[in-house]
């Protein structure tokens, strides 16, 4: 506690040991937390205030393979595992980055991006099924409360957009790692100053955040 007070009152950098890029990413993620919280709290509000039954996620998100019985929520479970796996590979990429192991870092970043793209692809599949097959619309659906569609498309859409942006930036960072741009002083496009492997860690923070948001969406939207 004493350390917190002296850090904050030190008249220089409050976040000691944290590069500016990382501090800015954390502040962005904090603001993003509030955006997603607003979505999830609005979801709570419409669901609690609706006199009509909320559609049953277990049945709605069930899939059957071949002629088999529908397995509840199976696609969502696979998507969850994929995102967690991508978080694991990202964490390892950060570690290899600080060791200046360019090949492993780039490889792990590309694997992370691949899992991210797979996640978005499965989400596109899920949306298609819900729109075309189940007739879910933002203004109504055949299963229950009319707000379901609006909440679903807004929350998962915004999350999917975050994943898509993450995939693009993962590939950009992977390319820069591979070309050695974090070692030879090449100036960054956005920052106009030489980058370093801290950028991999900052990128990692964003990617883990996307995974973190999915933990909450999975719990509140799909399982509740």
């Amino acid at each position: 506690m004493k350390g917190v007070v002296s850090d904050w009152s030190s008249d220089q950098r409050a976040f000691k040991g944290v590069p500016w890029g990382k501090a800015m990413m954390w502040i962005f993620l904090l603001s993003d937390t509030f955006i997603f919280s607003c979505f999830l709290i609005s979801y709570m509000t419409v669901r609690m205030s609706s006199g009509v039954d909320w559609p049953l996620a277990t049945e709605l998100f069930a899939l059957s393979f071949g002629d088999g019985e529908p397995i509840p929520m199976v696609l969502i479970a696979i998507m969850t595992f994929i995102l967690i796996t991508s978080s694991g590979t990202m964490a390892m990429a950060v570690r290899f980055g600080y060791q200046k192991n360019r090949k492993m870092t780039a490889l792990l970043l590309v694997i992370t991006a691949f899992f991210g793209a797979t996640f978005v692809g499965m989400q596109a599949f899920e949306w298609t099924k819900l729109i075309v097959h189940d007739g879910i619309r933002p203004w109504g659906n055949p299963f229950g409360a009319a707000q379901f569609g609006a909440v679903f498309f807004m929350i998962t859409g915004f999350h999917g957009f975050h994943v898509s942006v993450g995939v693009i930036f993962l590939l950009i960072v992977a390319r820069k790692v591979l070309k050695g741009e974090y070692e030879n002083g090449t100036k960054g496009f956005f920052t106009s100053r030489p980058g370093s492997y801290e950028i991999v860690e900052t990128m990692g923070l964003y990617w883990h955040f996307v995974d973190l948001v999915w933990v909450f969406i999975f719990a509140f939207f799909y399982l509740w």
Partner: protein, 114 residues
């Protein structure tokens, strides 16, 4: 090399790779548990508390290990953690707001009007 980058280089978050594997497996297990809550149709307060416990555990491990918050200085952890607690106030407010809205809806729409 200037001071700032020399300092930052030493400061970078480096941890043994084993801990990432352990947390990864842990997250897999916790996700499986929360999936099983749905699969076996656990209902009521048990369902909700299990979902919340698994969710908070997963979120905690992601933040502490993957996002390295366990090793960051408290000045940063507090700057991030304290604003988030205000969300509880927001949730409290909106819970009461929805109860009130639902009450009105039941009175005028679902109950057929007073």
């Amino acid at each position: 090399m200037n001071m700032a980058s020399a300092e930052a280089h030493v400061e970078g978050q480096q941890h043994p790779i084993g801990i990432y594997f352990k947390v990864w497996i842990l997250l897999f297990v916790l996700s499986t548990f929360s999936y099983l809550v749905d699969f076996y149709h656990v209902e009521g307060y048990l369902r909700w508390s299990l979902i919340l416990i698994f969710m908070l555990l997963k979120a905690g491990f992601i933040m502490a290990i993957f996002m390295h918050l366990a090793w960051e200085r408290l000045a940063l952890v507090f700057a991030l953690g304290i604003p988030v607690t205000f969300l509880l106030v927001f949730i409290f407010l909106m819970t009461h707001e929805s109860d009130y809205t639902l009450g009105l809806r039941e009175l005028f729409f679902i109950g057929g009007g007073a």
